[in-house]
Amino acid sequence: MANLHTELGLSDQDVLDIYQTMLLARKIDERMWLLNRSGKIPFVISCQGQEAAQVGASFALNREKDYVSPYYRDLGVVLSFGMTAKDLMLSAFAKAEDPNSGGRQMPGHFGQKKNRILTGSSPVTTQVPHAVGVALAGKMEKKDFVSFVTLGEGSSNQGDFHEGLNFAGVHKLPVITMVENNQYAISVPIEKQIASKNISVRALSYGMEGVTVDGNDPLAVYKAVRDARERAINGEGGTVIEAVSYRLTAHSSDDDDRYREKEEVDEAKKQDAIITFGNYLKEENVLSNKIEEEMNRDITSIINEATDYAEEAPYAMPEDALKYVYEE
């Protein structure tokens, strides 16, 4: 009998892979908080609450071809696109071998050319025009990839969102923009950020499709991105997808979140996709206790290994600070 994921054309193994990737992201994130609180790494910024959207979306993309311009919470995206736990731990520890930046940037500033993950900065939303530029290049070169870009809902108020997506709209470029609406921009709740009834309505300004989906449901996000990708590849232009979930942690390790009520957070935790999607997979007899235990074991050992490796790895030499300003 068809269940939700098979209707979408996803095999049991596919959804297990999605779940495992979500779980890996979550567990890496949790480990980073522990490392931060024990003084071993200076900074964490979390994916918690957004893994379903990130991994669901990524699995709808062509992970051999498509380009991604992720934002700082997108652990789930970069893991799906080939970054490893070790890579991420090297970044968290700011070690020389970190493929994102060689320890130059804070964690969460992803980038890895071999996996077509564009390098990102801290000023929010600058990646939107970049993703559009990649899509433009693809169109000029008649390639069949799409360009996928993410950002927070607060960040959708930046001028670069408007300018970038308008450019993409005029040229019907294959850009899929996913706004991860976690309802807060640091302390500022969505109703003080944005007056429109939702984020996806902004797509209309750019002649694009706009869809709002449950960001806690990886299958719903998968479907939205898959459809968007199909349109993009068919020359029908871009899509703005709003994936609604909730930021389960404080903004970052530098933030307390006294500005919101504990009850609100507790309520949101009930929708945590790690739990709800896990339950779905169990109900559908896709995830057995045995598989779950194995997964957890594997993930723990991957993370342990990555952590140990990263902790031991050397920092860049002081004078390495002088390298790579220009081509050498």
């Binding site: 020389a96 130059r104 940037q105 801290s122 108020n157 950020q193 920092y315």
Partner: protein, 327 residues
């Protein structure tokens, strides 16, 4: 007199000015309910209400631009950029609008806005939470740029900025926020924008600097004084437009000048200081002008090894000051 940290001086100045003049209001990201990511506006939301301490949408060009519009109308906005690094989206509003409004309207309109932003490194902030950005703006007539080095100066200069009838960029060193403490009078006082300040008298070498580096220079000067080297320290305080007379006087006084900035060396504001000296003090100099600055790399890295390599610190100051003294 109470002892205050640098950031407490910020909060105090804001609060006193808001009490004094109801046209003064604050706008920025997370300045309201949260009280700012550094807590510079702590308590003000509760005291003055939502509209005088306004949490804005995440959009710096609007923060500056809406502030400019309100200022044209006659309000006295104090806009916060969460980090100086994030002022870049607002450059057009600041340079094309705020700086040029009085001039372009032939004195009909003016923009009494203050734009505060925490800058500077040494806080594990990496490339985008550590920059000194003053050089981007320190070539725009119509703007004033204030960069205080101590809690006392913060209070007096921030009040002056808010009362100024022209746009002022007010950069606060984020590492100084909790590091620097001193006695700050309870009374209302303002300090003059546009005037450099002699922070230490000395006759052997002159150090001209601003911001956190003043602190490093003072520390080092004490140390060198034990060995009989007397350092004259000029704190620029306003880095644009510069206090040319103050600079000429300080440089001429000892004839040996070290310029220090935490910014990248090439194109930093100490270049302009050096040029002023080259134009005006040639025959008073006993040594080439020396500069100590960050290396010319985009911004300081996250890894502690490379961050330390980048940052000016007391050791680097000492080395440079000694070298100059011995010249």
């Amino acid at each position: 007199m109470p002892v205050m940290s640098y950031i407490q001086a910020v909060t105090t100045a804001l609060k006193e000015e808001m009490l004094r003049d109801e046209k003064v209001f604050i706008l920025g990201e997370d300045v309201g309910k949260k009280g700012g990511v550094f807590r510079a506006t702590e308590g003000l939301y509760n005291e003055f209400g939502e509209y005088r301490v306004l949490d804005t949408p995440l959009s710096e060009s609007a923060i500056a631009g809406v502030g400019i519009g309100a200022a044209m109308y006659g309000m006295r906005p104090v806009a916060e950029m969460q980090f100086a690094d994030f002022i870049m989206p607002a450059v057009n509003q600041i340079i094309s609008e705020a700086a040029k409004t009085r001039y372009r309207s032939n004195n009909d309109w003016n923009v009494p806005i203050t734009i505060r932003a925490p800058y500077g490194g040494g806080v594990h902030g990496a490339l985008y939470h550590s920059q000194s950005v003053e050089a981007v703006f320190a070539n725009q007539p119509g703007l004033k740029i204030v960069m205080p080095s101590s809690p006392y100066d913060v209070k007096g200069l921030l009040k002056a900025a808010i009362r100024d009838n022209d746009p002022v960029l007010f950069f606060e060193h984020k590492r100084a926020y909790r590091l620097l403490k001193e006695e700050v009078p309870n009374e209302d006082y303002v300090l003059p924008i546009g005037k450099a300040d002699v922070k230490r008298e000395g006759s052997d070498i002159t150090v001209i600097t601003y911001g956190l580096c003043v602190h490093f220079a003072l520390q080092t000067a004490e140390k060198l004084a034990n060995e009989g080297i007397e350092t004259h320290i000029l704190d620029l305080r306003t880095v644009y437009p510069l206090d040319k007379e103050g600079i000429i006087e300080a440089a001429s006084k000892t004839g040996k000048v070290l310029l220090i900035t935490e910014d990248n060396k090439e194109g930093s504001i100490i270049g302009e200081v050096g040029a002023i000296i080259a134009e005006n003090c040639l025959f008073d100099l006993d040594a080439p002008v020396m500069r100590l600055a960050g290396p010319d790399v985009p911004a300081m890295p996250f890894a502690p090894t490379m961050e330390k390599f980048f940052m000016v610190n007391p050791d680097k100051c000492e080395k440079a000051m000694r070298e100059l003294a011995e010249f």
